[in-house]
Symmetry: C2
């Protein structure tokens, strides 16, 4: 049974089963209860089986805005909280909820850093069909993801941008809880996603944050209204914690760009940094850069010019070198490829994100279990995007893998996921790339 609710006391003692009953029966947990729960779970006094029951109850019964904020703050309090106050320049960060072919962080970070705003991109590794930024960058010979806090701070000061692994000291409760959710079927919950993302980003100490909240077949949340609710929840959490936060709702029904994998996504990012590359990647990179710069107080800048005149590319090379990478080194290439060709003339009217993401994952670009290695050269390269006119015999997409035995299951996953129609048929993209914006 609960004791009295003296505000802020960390020693107050609750019973885990009482708290589970409260959430199970659609009640609301108090700030003191959530503080206790997160602390007790981090220390191991509340077990994984109790937290698993609690997260399923949260998944099915939801949480109030107050509970979500309390959960976020409790997870932040479970670890260290960084500060970039001593940097002498504003900081701005971006977080994407994850998608297929989403390599936007790679061109975005140097593009924003060009304008004197520091970009501390603390990133993760992929799990399942959504790739991880660190996995992609590790395709570059010599590049290393793990920096000390001192190295990260120095690089932000001297170079202006960094993409590195989030230290385990940030919101360790979230790390533990995320691993648990992953194996207990409670990932796709707005309160749990929002508190997980925002606890790490607020603890990281960024001054501004832009959220790329995906919706559609290749996203965590399929429905745009659910994504809007997630975006609103996260923007409110950021603003409450003093972080200037906004969100773009972006369409993840179709793969982003033409490359899905690791090395091939780096290659495509470099094309965009050189002023080329697929139009959708450039469009989203520029839109997110404008948001990030605006939140950091820079509204009067020509973002697109920096892609065209080589400044973004120069910054990219500088950042890669600062982390030991060779921007001129050849990227790994797979031993085997398998190309699928158009069987008729017409228009590509369908290309679903999720099946192509799963294909890349099955080819070895992603991992099934935490800690597994990824194959940097594996993945899918698209040769046409929805709306493109195609002619019989032209290549539609190419699968790459080191082991040809991986092709059949990858091909199986894209079976029925693309279609060539006639001129005038509806092209199934699910609407524009950037559907909406949430924020002050």
């Amino acid at each position: 049974m609960s004791g009295g609710a003296s505000a802020g006391s960390p020693v107050e003692d609750f019973d885990a089963v009482d708290l589970i009953h409260t959430k199970r029966d659609r009640g609301e947990l108090s700030t003191a209860q959530i503080d206790w729960l997160v602390d007790a779970y981090t220390r191991g006094y509340v077990g994984d089986e109790q937290m698993a029951a609690m997260t399923m109850a949260i998944f099915l019964n939801g949480m109030s805005r107050t509970e979500i904020r309390d959960l976020t703050m409790a997870m932040i309090a479970s670890g260290e909280r960084m500060s970039f106050d001593g940097l002498g320049k504003p900081t701005t960060d971006k977080h994407s909820t994850g998608g297929v072919g989403d390599k936007i962080t790679l061109p975005l970070m140097p593009l924003v850093a060009v304008f004197g705003v520091a970009v501390p991109q603390l990133s993760g590794r992929g799990l399942g069909h959504t790739g991880g930024t660190l996995d992609k960058l590790e395709s570059i010979p010599g590049w290393r993801a793990n920096l000390s806090n001192e190295e990260m701070f120095a690089q932000l000061r001297d170079v202006g941008g960094v993409i590195c692994a989030a230290g385990s000291g940030l919101a360790p409760a979230d790390g533990k809880l995320y691993s648990l959710r992953d194996i207990t079927g409670t990932v796709e919950s707005i309160p749990l996603i929002a508190s997980s993302i925002m606890s790490k980003k607020i603890a990281e100490g960024t001054g501004a944050l832009v959220l790329d909240v995906k919706f559609g077949s290749g996203a965590f949340l399929k429905d745009i209204e659910e994504s809007r609710e997630l975006a609103r929840t996260m923007v409110a959490l950021g603003q409450d914690a003093g972080v200037a936060t906004s969100a773009l709702l972006t369409n993840m029904n179709v793969p982003l760009g033409l490359a899905i994998g690791n090395a091939n996504e780096v290659r495509e990012s470099v094309e965009v940094l050189g002023g080329g590359g697929p139009a959708d990647i450039t469009e989203l990179t520029v839109a997110l850069a404008r948001e990030m710069l605006a939140l950091a107080g820079k509204t009067d800048v020509d973002v697109e010019a920096a892609l065209q005149d080589g400044r973004a590319m120069d910054k990219w090379r500088e950042v890669i070198r600062a982390q030991g990478g060779d921007p001129d080194a050849a990227l790994p290439v797979a031993k085997e490829t398998h190309t699928v060709y158009a069987d008729r003339d017409g228009v590509l009217v369908q290309q679903d994100a999720l099946p192509f993401g799963i294909a890349a994952w099955r080819l070895g670009a992603g991992r099934a279990r935490k800690g597994d290695p990824v194959q940097h050269s594996a993945g899918v390269d698209l040769h046409a995007k929805p709306g493109d006119t195609v002619t019989k015999g032209q290549p539609l997409f190419t699968l790459s893998a080191d082991e040809p035995a991986r092709f059949p299951r990858a091909l199986e996953s894209v079976d029925g996921a693309w279609r060539i129609g006639d001129e005038g048929d509806e092209v199934l993209t699910g609407g524009p790339l950037i559907a909406d914006r949430v924020g002050g």
Copy 2:
């Protein structure tokens, strides 16, 4: 992802997260999926955290009748299945969902055995405020709960009745799952209660089974309609498995009898076996005995006569002796008592079961954690029942404990749980003791 559904194959391989998603999203699990889940959980391949998420999803989203039957059969298949076929006489058993002062098994088992029907009462220990039959009987010097299967079989053959600990070989999956539910807040779920009870009872091998399904403040399920649903579910499970099964829905708003504890409940049971004791205990004992005998084919017997003419008492003494107990030995008495007296003349109009059950538990009659000892002499003795006329200064109830420090919290739990009103005031009993019957 699931493999093909070849019926009955035990080696079929599923993914625990897929199964959790199915139940989380209100889908139905197949027979093969449930078989796999229970087997994999019993072997430890599916972890407690995954099963905790699954049980919370079952708690909140329910299970179909088919799923409940599959779960029951899978838990039976996790262990041994006994048979009393070689006994040469019918078998009949009773199970109560648990209540306050529920010692009915003690007078009931010998009463039924008098009529040549074997009664294999495989029982448990108490947890929380509901007492355990074995705990009560262990008040009797020398009596032992643990019998081998051979000893149990011999006693059923030679004496006709036995109350002993259910071996861990019966439905081990249920044992593991029940312990998990207890710490993860998923106890009060009809599919999980029904499959838990019925897996053990069907595995036990009884030919007939009467269920005493409680409702009211002192029961697992407060609402009679929920209890009716539980009863219907369990009766169907028993009948499907070839066990003649019926259920009585009985009122647990008021303590059963006058004794709540262990030794004092044995004392009261012996009074009933001698033809005396509280009217409610006798009424329920006789009603359940008639049900048990009828299901075993004995409809033309005078149950009450066996209480009056000493046959039930003789059988009791025989059974207690067969398990090493001395039916004539003095039962333990507590070192301290604390009596509460009527503060006015009037009628006792309220006496809530749950608070008095909690008081007995706090006095030491029950255990907070599995494996804790119980104090056999601790408990509550009521001196009046709802509807009784009382006079100022007469004792209302007496608390017994070895440590007087236990009295204040026990008194706190019954504060407001009883009330003396005026002649003509409504007496709050929640209706008749036996509210309904479910079964063929």
